[in-house]
């Protein structure tokens, strides 16, 4: 080997060593379970997302109760109620597992859901808080614009929110309506409402009930199931 070739080879080796030692610019892929959801074939599917879970406990609800456990209990109860009424349900989690917002949206969008319910719980306020995404309504896009996927469904989400509001009113549960920026709402390509359950403050119609009161949870779940059934009766297969 001639000396010039040796220099060239040396430079090449040096360059490759430098390239390997340079910091990675691409973030490492997060290895987390993606909930299994069958691709929809025109069926009426409801996606229930129990917020938080695993290392993300969510809000503290007093007496050692964590939001992640309340949302999971509500999710399991709602899933059973809906399945008993013949509704296909996909849940994003069935156990106390950490699940990134991205995976939740991925599961919901893969299921091509007719309804997406994101369940939350808080110790503040009274009754049930219903939130839709704060995005401005826009036409649905193909391919999906991931950060603003919900924009194409905002109008339907508001109608779904109204349906749930009516069902809650029928169950005599006070409701607060609003728009909020909460993950993964903006990424959901389905009519989506965040349902936040709060304790029931005693009023002139209702008695006070804690968030862990099973009777209260049952009333909320039944109202949600009634709203979903009502939504299904008007739902047209896409």
């Amino acid at each position: 080997m001639r000396w010039t070739e040796a220099v060239v080879l040396g430079l090449a080796v040096w360059g490759s060593v430098l390239a390997q030692s340079a910091p990675q610019t691409q973030p490492a892929q997060q290895a987390s379970p993606v909930p299994s959801a069958q691709a929809n074939t025109g069926q009426f599917v409801v996606v229930i997302d129990a917020a938080h879970g695993g290392t993300d406990a969510g809000a503290g609800l007093g007496n050692g109760l964590a939001e992640k456990n309340v949302t999971l209990a509500l999710s399991v109860r709602l899933r059973s109620t809906l399945q008993a009424r013949g509704v296909n349900v996909v849940t994003t989690r069935e156990a106390d597992a950490t699940l990134p917002a991205l995976n939740r949206a991925e599961a919901a969008n893969h299921a091509q859901a007719a309804v997406c319910l994101v369940l939350h719980a808080t110790a503040t306020g009274s009754g049930v808080h219903l939130y839709t995404a704060a995005l401005a309504p826009a036409a649905q896009t193909h391919p999906l614009s991931w950060p603003t996927a919900q924009a194409g469904y905002v109008t339907q989400s508001v109608k779904l929110e109204s349906e749930i509001d009516s069902a809650m009113a029928h169950a005599q549960i006070p409701v607060t309506l609003g728009r909020a920026s909460v993950q993964p709402m903006d990424n959901l390509a389905c009519p989506a409402v965040a349902v936040e359950m709060a304790p029931l403050v005693a009023g002139h119609i209702t008695g006070g009930k804690g968030i862990s009161d099973t009777g209260y949870q049952e009333t909320v779940v039944n109202a949600l199931a009634a709203a979903v059934e009502s939504w299904r009766s008007d739902w047209k297969q896409p």
Partner: protein, 219 residues
């Protein structure tokens, strides 16, 4: 077989590469030194101006029970400086959250480190806009004291935006930081990664609750 000319040419190019690399490294070191010197320099004295005579301002106080927002008129002495003015407004709002009988209780009395202003980025071909982006740097103590939940967190942000927009109409957008750093959420729910339109916070722009509507009270 490589000719002598090519060998000489190669050596010259190699030498040039080495010289350029050394020159670039030196330039980078000088730039780093300069930035370091600027960062460690004592900040210039900031004069906020003495508070002027008390001025009538509007604070927006949320109600956790029905999600409504009530506007309350207060008389507050505001500094002349815009940044300090915004900070005083928000500190008065947080003090109202902390007051006994508050409809949106919070366990801290203050919670804003600083408010910065940036001009709105203008689109190509657009005239300069008079609107500004307010970057509100909240304290970690406020974030820790914030009750967790979609409703309480959203109401805190909306109240801050509505108060800023009502008293300083040039604020078109608001972005939140916590202790100078970007943060995913305020206390686990409300998204802090996005920049909010200040007009989103006006009670008229927000859907209402049942029962109870956004109210306006001027005692």
């Amino acid at each position: 077989m490589i000719s002598r000319v090519h060998k000489v040419l190669f050596l010259i190019m190699l030498l040039a590469c080495v010289v350029m690399a050394a020159f670039l490294i030196r330039l980078r070191n000088r730039a780093q030194d300069r930035l370091h010197a600027e960062a460690t320099m004592a900040p210039a004295e900031i004069t906020e101006g003495s508070p002027s005579a008390p001025r009538s301002v509007m604070l927006y106080i949320p109600n956790d029970l029905d999600g409504s927002m009530t506007s309350v008129q207060r008389s507050i002495a505001l500094p002349a400086d815009d940044n300090a003015q915004a900070r005083v407004l928000l500190d008065n709002l947080i003090a109202a959250f902390h007051a006994a009988g508050s409809t949106h209780p919070m366990s801290v009395e203050t919670g804003v480190n600083e408010v910065y202003f940036l001009p709105l980025p203008k689109a190509r071909g657009e005239q300069a806009s008079s609107g500004r982006i307010a970057v509100v740097d909240l304290s970690g103590a406020l974030a820790a004291a914030q009750p967790s939940g979609i409703e309480p967190e959203t109401l805190t942000l909306l109240a801050m935006m509505a108060t800023l927009h009502a008293n300083m109409p040039s604020i078109a957008e608001v972005h939140f930081l916590v202790d100078g750093q970007p943060r995913q959420t305020l206390a686990g729910h409300a998204d802090l990664t996005r920049t909010y339109l200040a007009s989103e916070a006006s009670p008229e722009a927000n859907p209402t609750s049942r029962p109870g509507q956004a109210a306006e009270v001027t005692p």
